[in-house]
Symmetry: C2
Subunit: 191 residues, 2 copies
């Protein structure tokens, strides 16, 4: 039924935004229901219990897939351009939507990371435009395995943003700008 589907989707969207904002235990079934326009008891027509909702949300919204999706829209004539664009874009995206990583933190702290393996197995992307582009520009890059490169790239962005959280955004000037970090990154990656 169409109605069933759309209610289920609304529950998932509601749960996602609440989990990300308040954590798992901080988001009650009543909150999730209200935000989806129904009553708490009705949720149980679509899900067995609260944890099942989280499971589905986490698998669908695993930040890794979202990040690979963002990377797929990046273009660049040279490896340097491609990588610089990727860093800038990811940086911007993760800043404007810190929620992206929050879901993962909730999984780590409140769920002990137990859903991670299944999330990876369920929907790891089979082909990535970004990775394809990197392969085409392989000659400009040091002899590093591509997965290691991807890892380093994504990792650097995380690092950048997480460090800002650590020290608070207030004193960020003294700790360097995005461009400086990008420079160090490219030096390590390019020939």
């Amino acid at each position: 039924m169409n109605n069933e589907d759309s209610t289920k989707k609304q529950i998932l969207e509601s749960a996602y935004s609440l989990f990300v904002e308040k954590g798992y235990r901080g988001s009650s079934m009543r909150d999730i229901a209200e935000h989806a326009g129904i009553k708490a008891a009705s949720i149980y027509n679509h899900f067995e219990n609260k944890e099942q909702i989280f499971e589905v949300v986490f698998i669908e919204k695993h930040p890794m897939f979202r990040i690979l999706e963002i990377l797929d829209s990046i273009r660049g004539a040279t490896a340097e351009e491609l990588l610089t664009n990727a860093v800038n874009r990811l940086n911007k995206e993760l800043r404007s939507e810190p929620a992206l990583l929050n879901l993962f933190f909730v999984e780590l702290v409140e769920m002990d990371g137990k859903h991670v393996p299944r999330a990876i197995k369920t929907n790891f992307p089979t082909d990535s435009n970004f990775i394809k582009q990197i392969y085409e520009k392989k000659s400009e890059i040091r002899d590093i395995a591509i997965p290691v490169l991807i890892r380093f790239l994504i990792g650097t962005i995380f690092a950048h943003i997480m460090f800002n959280w650590f020290i608070g955004d207030s004193s960020s000037r003294r700790w360097g700008t995005s461009a400086e970090l990008n420079d160090v990154l490219l030096r390590g990656i390019l020939r």
Copy 2:
């Protein structure tokens, strides 16, 4: 009083380990009390409420300070040695004590990061043995501001470990080893 002090400390230690393991809302005052060997009501002789406990714990155990503390014990004859040792040591430490970062995730998700600025202001280290050593070896390093370097170093370790969490530890072979990441990092930092 000595007794007051030690009870307070036990409450803080108990709260720390519980917050890290179960999150803020997942750790009840009764749990915290029991783990400290007292009853829940007695906590209020030492703290005004639950959030005040978290505040004190977070300021005392902010991962950034613990990391700088670990770095202070690192030695190395050359910049390369110093940095490699630092990467390996931090990596080992963060792996054996993932709790270190969990406290910060709890703060970000359940507290909205509101205690971060005060934690930084309250106890930022005035002198660091590690930073001093880096300065002495400045000639071997590219012309990067030292804070940027520290940031990149700590960030790389984070990145390494967080990426493992993201993909789950299962498929880690294909994504590269610690040594490979260290190599990319050093290329970017050393002259």
